[in-house]
Symmetry: C2
Subunit: 202 residues, 2 copies
């Protein structure tokens, strides 16, 4: 790609570091930015370049929050239920549950899942921080909301040992057939899981 000016080459190189952005997409994005007003490129560049300086991880739950807003709004919210903590893998999982609008408890971001393959060990996760939150005696329930994968199960199993000494209810979200889906298209593992986790009706 020697046929582009240096500044454009640099932009293309940086864009291609983004997930899912190959040479063609990078070129499309770069020429789009050049066609639009300079002000737009400046605003986007500024929003990207300063994101680390403006955001941080909440010292309590570990999710994303403004630097000047720590602990985060959820952890500080007086109307939310401080007796329930939902344990998630990543900060973006918090947004997924918040979007539903039906959960009003607290969160705890682990920062990953135990994985021998990816060299993620217990000390890489925010487990001590969770145990610490249980010490005050205010927490009555911990809900695991992790991916239904080998890593997810391993993480729950490991953490159960550490939660056992504490007198709290430990639950996990229900795994089963997605609402609105056609049974024909649900995979076998999900169906087996849904059968096993069946509930009494009527």
């Amino acid at each position: 790609m020697r046929y582009f000016p240096d500044s454009l080459m640099r932009l293309l190189t940086e864009l291609q570091k983004l997930p899912g952005v190959g040479p063609k997409t990078a070129q499309r994005l770069a020429f789009h930015l050049l066609k639009e007003p300079a002000e737009d490129a400046r605003r986007l560049g500024n929003a990207i370049g300063t994101i680390h300086e403006k955001l941080t991880n909440c010292t309590i739950c570990g999710s994303i929050t403004e630097l000047h807003d720590d602990p985060c709004r959820i952890c500080e919210h007086p109307q939310r239920d401080h007796s329930v903590i939902c344990v998630v893998e990543d900060p973006d999982d918090v947004s997924i549950f918040e979007r539903t609008g039906t959960y009003s408890g607290m969160y705890h971001v682990l920062g990953g899942l135990l994985s021998a393959l990816n060299h993620v060990r217990p000390e890489d996760l925010r487990i001590p921080e969770l145990i610490n939150r249980l010490r005050g005696g205010e927490v009555a329930e911990v809900i695991f909301a992790l991916s239904p994968s080998v890593e997810g199960s391993a993480t729950v199993t490991y953490m159960l040992q550490h939660l056992a000494p504490h007198d709290i209810r430990v639950t996990q979200i229900a795994y089963g057939v997605p609402i609105g889906s056609d049974l024909d298209y649900v995979d076998d593992v999900t169906l087996s899981q849904a059968l096993e986790a069946r509930n009494e009706v009527g």
Copy 2:
């Protein structure tokens, strides 16, 4: 999306202005930027934010060049053939032909195609600049390399009138069956065009 901090919301809004970037992709990109080192985000942000200040359009051919490198490297190149000008629609078309490595003439970027639908009139295109380049008498051939669309044909037809008074050869790139394609998969219009533009062999 009220569940994200303001700085993150602003980043998501700006990212979604890019072509092909919806809410989900914006979120994936933003969380990727947050996970990677701050230096990476700063470099990308800087490359995007300053792109308009670093690049400009070459005053001769209209393609993209560094601000301090105008006329562009192609227009100034002593080894290239200054007697041939290839007329293209956009600056990125220049890179497409340069990539082939087989063309060694000059370029002229029109900046669009005539289109009643999109309100592109002759005065919106860099036609006078092309005519001007023919005045020196150095140019012997103008090659049209525009999209084989209604707009492309209309633009060629319009420009032919303006090129007629000049004693130069006017050609256009061959439109036909792409090399390596299976005839089964070539559309009818392309096939008809290929038949009509057939060449003597043997």
